[in-house]
């Protein structure tokens, strides 16, 4: 069991940071391929998503390099095993690297012993192939056990699996603590592509039922404007989620490119990774009852 200490209204980022933006790339390629009714992977969806590792991730790396943006790459263990050259380039570029489950499992369907085995397996893949001990974790479909398992069976320092807050909170349990850095609707799945449905996420044709890029860009800019305005008075953050197989497509990559160009102009906008958000939260953030 664990206790949560939410952020206080007095929570502040370090001096000069008005709006931190964490560009978070989900490098998962074909791992969340939808099944056909017979349970076999849908070859169409698989192929559309496989673009992510073959081409999309490289394009996203290029755009981040062009803008001098450091971000967070959330990488599936299986994707790292199949396409190690992508993750090596990500590591070389100095981005924050975190685990994104092994094969994009829906942990909410897993018993605890399976979930912890997958967490450990994924952590080991990063050590074996990148020589990197990861400190961050995100599962898109968390279970009731996820935070307990991370606290008890890993030394993960921050988790980004929750969708329920504006700013980080401190999770204490099993003799240690984790920073929960939540994510939000600043994402290509919310603005660009219908990837989930209530019946069974992810949905078939998930790369197909899509909003056009002008809509995505408008959504990102209006979210940014609201956060930047609010950032004058209190702490805000923008964890911006993009997927290798969604925003990595040429026409959508331009949305990210244009958004970065737009956001960079504003004073106090800082592009960073979750590792730094976690460090700042510990250094200058305030948690607990008001």
């Amino acid at each position: 069991m664990w206790n949560e200490k939410g952020y206080k209204r007095s929570f502040r980022w370090p001096q000069g940071v008005r709006l931190p933006i964490a560009v978070s790339v989900h490098h998962q390629s074909e791992e969340a391929t939808c099944p056909m009714p017979d349970g076999q992977p849908d070859p169409f969806d698989y192929s559309e998503r496989q673009y992510g590792a073959r081409r999309g991730a490289w394009r996203l790396l290029d755009i981040m390099a062009k803008h001098g943006v450091r971000g967070t790459w959330l990488i599936c263990g299986a994707t790292l095993e199949k396409y190690p050259e992508v993750s090596r380039a990500v590591q070389q570029a100095g981005h924050c690297i975190a685990g994104h489950t092994y094969a994009h499992e829906m942990m909410c369907n897993m018993p605890p012993h399976s979930e912890i085995a997958l967490i450990k397996k994924t952590v080991a893949v990063f050590e074996d192939l990148l020589g990197e001990h990861i400190h961050g974790w995100r599962t898109c479909f968390a279970s009731h056990n996820t935070l307990d398992l991370l606290l008890e069976h890993s030394d993960i320092e921050w988790d980004g699996s929750m969708w329920n807050d504006d700013l980080p909170s401190l999770i204490e349990g099993h003799g240690r603590e984790i920073l929960e850095i939540p994510f939000a609707t600043y994402s290509d799945t919310a603005l660009g592509v219908d990837i989930t449905n209530p019946a069974f996420p992810p949905s078939r044709f998930s790369t197909w039922n899509a909003n056009p890029p002008d809509f995505m860009l408008r959504g990102l800019k209006s979210a940014f404007d609201a956060l930047y305005e609010r950032g004058a008075e209190r702490a805000v953050m923008m964890p911006l989620v993009v997927h290798d197989f969604i925003t990595g497509r040429p026409f959508r990559s331009k949305v990210l490119d244009e958004f970065l160009t737009y956001a960079k102009q504003f004073d106090g906008v800082v592009f960073t990774g979750h590792d730094e958000l976690a460090r700042w939260s510990r250094e200058t953030g305030e948690f607990g009852k008001e």
Partner: protein
């Protein structure tokens, strides 16, 4: 089972003077792909929206392509060719490439090798008989390949396939007996994703325009340093409608008349890929 021949981007060479090939691929069906209502009852709603392509859409498209003197590739369903032979004959006569897309929208994903081979042969024969063409390429109607698809296509003498969606550039498969070229496409820039009833209307014609313009902008810029290919998947039932037809016309306005863009048919691109550097 066909095995991908690993290659580098630099292995792809377009003919000199060509900076960015433009490949328009039209999929031509007459409602065979529409799901029936329970109990095999007809679905005139979805089926009718798709039948539009064979009744009217393809003629609108052929007229537009003729105005711009642009050559494209038409994937034609065997049953559509039988029901609307004049549409395929007109496309072939106008110099467009005719390629195979199955027969009656049957999925090959779980078909036996014999079943799949008979679909390829039957589709090829129908197009030969009706339009006097020998098809050189293929796209599975539901984009769902079987483990044997590329082998069967190669054995049946086809040169290229365009059923996969996982790359920017064509690449090669070794099927044992011979190589086959894979020319990937994507549904993420496809007309039906944005304007094609019965799918959700996302953004309408303006949205589709922003998709295609962005795609061209990015690929054009990237093609300065590395080879790229602009490949669009279009439905005669979606782009054939006046509103989206106008969007295609506006795209052609940006492209036609500029030497660095080269409108290519799939067989051109396959040939260029085969003539590129090793392997």
């Amino acid at each position: 089972m066909a095995i991908e021949i690993k290659s580098k981007i630099e292995d792809v060479r377009w003919p000199s003077g060509v900076r960015l090939p433009i490949m328009l691929t039209f999929e031509h069906q007459a409602g065979e792909g529409a799901p029936l209502f329970a109990g095999e009852r007809p679905n005139y709603m979805v089926g009718g929206a798709m039948q539009y392509g064979a009744r009217r859409g393809i003629w609108n498209i052929l007229e537009l392509l003729d105005q711009y003197r642009v050559k494209a590739t038409f994937f034609v369903l065997g049953t559509t060719a039988e029901k609307y032979p004049e549409t395929v004959q007109a496309a072939a006569k106008a110099g467009h490439e005719i390629a195979g897309m199955g027969y009656g929208f049957a999925s090959v994903r779980t078909a036996s090798e014999e079943q799949e081979r008979s679909i390829v042969r039957r589709a090829a024969k129908v197009l030969q008989d009706i339009a006097d063409v020998k098809i050189r390429g293929w796209r599975c109607p539901d984009y769902r390949v079987s483990p044997k698809t590329l082998d069967i296509l190669a054995e049946e003498g086809l040169v290229w396939d365009s059923s996969l969606l996982n790359d920017d550039l064509p690449y090669l498969f070794d099927t044992g007996s011979r190589k086959i070229v894979e020319i990937p496409f994507t549904t993420s820039t496809a007309d039906k994703t944005y304007v094609g009833y019965p799918y959700p209307q996302r953004g309408g014609p303006d949205g589709l325009s922003s998709v295609w313009n962005n795609e061209l902008d990015v690929l054009y810029r990237e093609s300065e340093k590395a080879p790229r290919l602009l490949s669009l998947s279009l439905q005669t039932w979606a782009t054939g409608r006046p509103a989206s037809l106008r969007v295609l016309g506006q795209l052609l306005d940006r492209l036609v008349g500029h030497e660095e863009f080269r409108f290519a048919q799939c067989s051109d691109v396959a040939g260029w890929r085969l003539n590129s550097a090793a392997p």
